[in-house]
């Protein structure tokens, strides 16, 4: 499956330095599979401790079914927990647009097939204003053309070339590729005294 083009409604979760503890609090890491993590996404930001809704933007009726998350700088900083991108994916979000990303988070997203694309602040301000005004607008992320298209406006985006290539060639999950070098792995292990 090539992820060169994705489309969906957007939702803007504002703020710099949104860490993975906020994306999924540690108590929800108690699991031996990732299957049930969707409802825990941003839990403490979305709900009071008694479970009543805080009317967070992710739960706003106009953003129901949103598939593209938009945020600001240094999104996903902190813990390496893959539970964070897993929760994003299980919640139904397919891609993240932000000012910048923490590297472990971005790498985890890539492996799961969630493109993390970088957009500068001026363009993000325009895009999020549009999403807030017209939440039904479709956002198209085009990794071939390295642009986001929304309501006839075109926004330039950035992504590390190796990551982009992985999405364009559907090799974002690297495991099969890695397993293709068993002989070379073994000779490196031997050379370094590890086998």
């Amino acid at each position: 499956m090539s992820l060169s083009k994705l489309a969906g409604k957007g939702v803007y979760v504002q703020g710099n330095d949104i860490d993975t503890d906020r994306i999924i609090p540690a108590r929800y890491l108690k699991c031996v599979t990732f299957d049930e993590l969707g409802p825990s996404l941003f839990y403490d930001v979305r709900f009071e401790s008694d479970g009543t809704s805080k009317d967070h933007v992710l739960d706003a009726p106009q953003h129901e079914g949103a598939e593209i998350l938009i945020s600001d700088d240094n999104f996903g900083c902190g813990s390496s927990r893959e539970h964070a991108p897993q929760a994003i994916q299980k919640f139904g979000l397919k891609a993240v647009i932000a000012g910048s990303f923490a590297e472990i988070f971005q790498g985890n997203c890539t492996t799961l097939g969630i493109p993390c694309v970088v957009m500068d602040e001026a363009n993000r301000v325009k895009l999020t204003a549009d999403v807030e005004k017209h939440p039904e607008s479709e956002i198209i992320i085009d990794l071939e053309g390295m642009q986001v298209i929304c309501a006839n406006a075109i926004y330039p985006i950035q992504m590390k070339e190796s990551t982009r290539e992985a999405f364009l060639t559907s090799t974002f999950d690297p495991l099969d590729n890695l397993l293709g070098a068993k002989t070379e792995i073994h000779s490196t292990a031997k050379k370094l005294g590890y086998a």
Binding site: D21, L29, K30, V32, D44, S100, E103, K160, S162
Partner: protein, 471 residues
């Protein structure tokens, strides 16, 4: 032109370039634990794969293990299950598992170095962002996600992009009461929480050279808090002296040291960036907000949002409102409810020794719940052997069993409501310590001790009469 350590270790461990431009890199050491690794074994099973190099992976439990009662089965069913899945998978695949009460259990980043599994020139990975800790030995040490844990189990390799290297030189002499924790909090404050994105940090300079290995681990541990993918310190005699005689080091130790020495950055090595930090500028440092870069010295005032604009203004406002702190007020004197000494940042023997030296004869304030959590069973045993356990208890600390404990509060050690914790851990994120309204102030172990005794954020230099003459 010379090479830096990152380039040397990288070149040694690269297997080939992948079609997308990334590199396939061999992982010399893989550490796993009960929270981010059990799922990877499920992924292997789904794909019908086996563990390729089981002798290069070691398992232990740390994140979820209670620190009061560790008798099995654990009271928390899911915690018990996670430990069991890890333990079963380890034995099924021939992976050595450091179980509770084996004498070797503890926080992965404490256990690896103390056993001598962590060795200079290695590539090390673990499903935990604080894997950066191992960089103190001159390693490329990477926190990874669970799918990557799967990749390493199946192939002993990772797909990676190379990193740029920033040399951070800390020169001068630290003044009394200023610790390795203050050094790294100061660095993060200066360079920001995302200043390190795209980089490995190489720490050097006279301050780093003079540090013990445990201090160097504290510095490297928080590299990730500065946004760096990893951080390292060049191996030297201090490194070799620490490793000498440890259980898992090579039997031809002198020969190994020769090899390890060669990994250190060449004198003429080039860097993508260099930063100079003056030791004289570093004071006992504490956080006031909800990221580790939102830090000030104990002498400063909590910042005011008035002078900044845009998202930064929002960040300060949001942090102040969450922390319930007043802009422009001194941080000193802020009442605390809990004091926590432990974690992979500051849960090693020397951390407890430093506190023991100053708390003797003093008592924790009556309104403060104070807990000391050794980083491993070995730290616990060594601390007890020299009477630290008694000394902490006499001062009013609870002395617990080893684990991550209140650093991320996945076990029963949690803040309640909006309690404030003076904490020797590494993250002050919103809700980090187990309550969605709980508040964390990061600081060094002796600063935690000072806060515990005063009942409020305090200057350890004043509370313990530390002067330049204090030995």
């Amino acid at each position: 032109m010379g090479k830096n350590l990152f380039q040397k270790v990288w070149d040694d461990h690269v297997i080939r370039q992948l079609d997308n431009g990334q590199y396939q890199v061999f992982m010399a050491l893989h550490l796993i634990h009960e929270v981010t690794s059990p799922q990877a074994f499920g992924m292997l099973k789904d794909k019908g794969l086996n563990v390729a190099y089981p002798k290069r992976t070691y398992a232990t439990v740390d994140h979820i293990i209670p620190t009061d009662n560790q008798s099995r089965p654990l009271a928390d069913d899911m915690a018990e299950k996670m430990i069991q899945v890890l333990s079963d998978a380890s034995s099924e695949h021939g992976i050595e598992f450091f179980a509770p009460e084996s004498g070797s259990q503890g926080i992965v980043h404490v256990v690896g170095p103390e056993l001598g599994l962590t060795q200079p020139g290695m590539t090390i990975c673990c499903g935990d962002s604080h894997t950066a800790t191992h960089g103190a030995f001159g390693c490329i040490a990477l926190g990874i996600g669970t799918s990557q844990v799967r990749d390493v189990l199946a192939s002993q390799t990772l797909a990676m992009d190379p990193l740029k290297v920033r040399r951070i030189k800390v020169d001068g002499e630290l003044s009394v009461g200023v610790t390795a924790k203050d050094v790294i909090l100061h660095i993060i404050r200066i360079l920001g929480v995302n200043g390190g994105v795209g980089y490995a940090y190489e720490y050097g300079g006279s301050v780093i050279d003079a540090m013990t290995m445990e201090e160097r681990m504290t510095v490297c541990n928080m590299s990730i808090e500065g946004g760096a993918r990893c951080g390292y310190i060049n191996p030297d005699e201090t490194t070799f002296e620490f490793l000498k005689g440890r259980e898992r080091v090579p039997s031809d130790f002198d020969e190994a040291c020769e090899k390890w020495r060669g990994y250190a950055s060449d004198l003429e090595a080039s860097y993508d960036d260099e930063v100079l930090i003056s030791a004289a500028d570093i004071k006992p440092t504490v956080t006031w907000g909800v990221t580790p870069a939102q830090a000030i010295s104990i002498e400063e005032l909590v910042p005011s949002p008035d002078k900044v604009e845009g998202l930064d203004k929002n960040l300060i406002n949001d942090a102040l409102s969450y922390m319930k702190l007043e802009a422009g007020a001194p941080i000193k004197g802020t009442k605390i409810d809990v004091a926590f000494i432990g974690s992979c940042t500051n849960g090693r023997l020397s951390d407890f020794q430093a506190v023991a030296k100053v708390i003797e004869g003093k008592t924790v304030a009556s309104n403060v719940r104070a807990i000391a959590v050794p980083g491993s069973e070995k730290v616990d045993k060594d601390a007890r052997a020299i009477g630290l356990h008694d000394l902490f208890e006499a001062a009013g600390f609870e002395w617990r069993k080893p684990g991550c404990s209140m650093c991320l509060a996945m076990n029963p050690d949690k803040l309640v409501g909006d309690e404030i914790c003076a904490s020797s851990s590494n993250r002050n994120f919103i809700g980090r310590q187990g309550s969605s309204t709980g508040r964390t102030i990061l600081m060094s172990p002796i600063m935690v001790a000072a806060a515990a005794i005063e009942g409020s954020v305090a200057d350890a230099r004043e509370v313990f009469n530390l002067t330049e003459e204090t030995p």
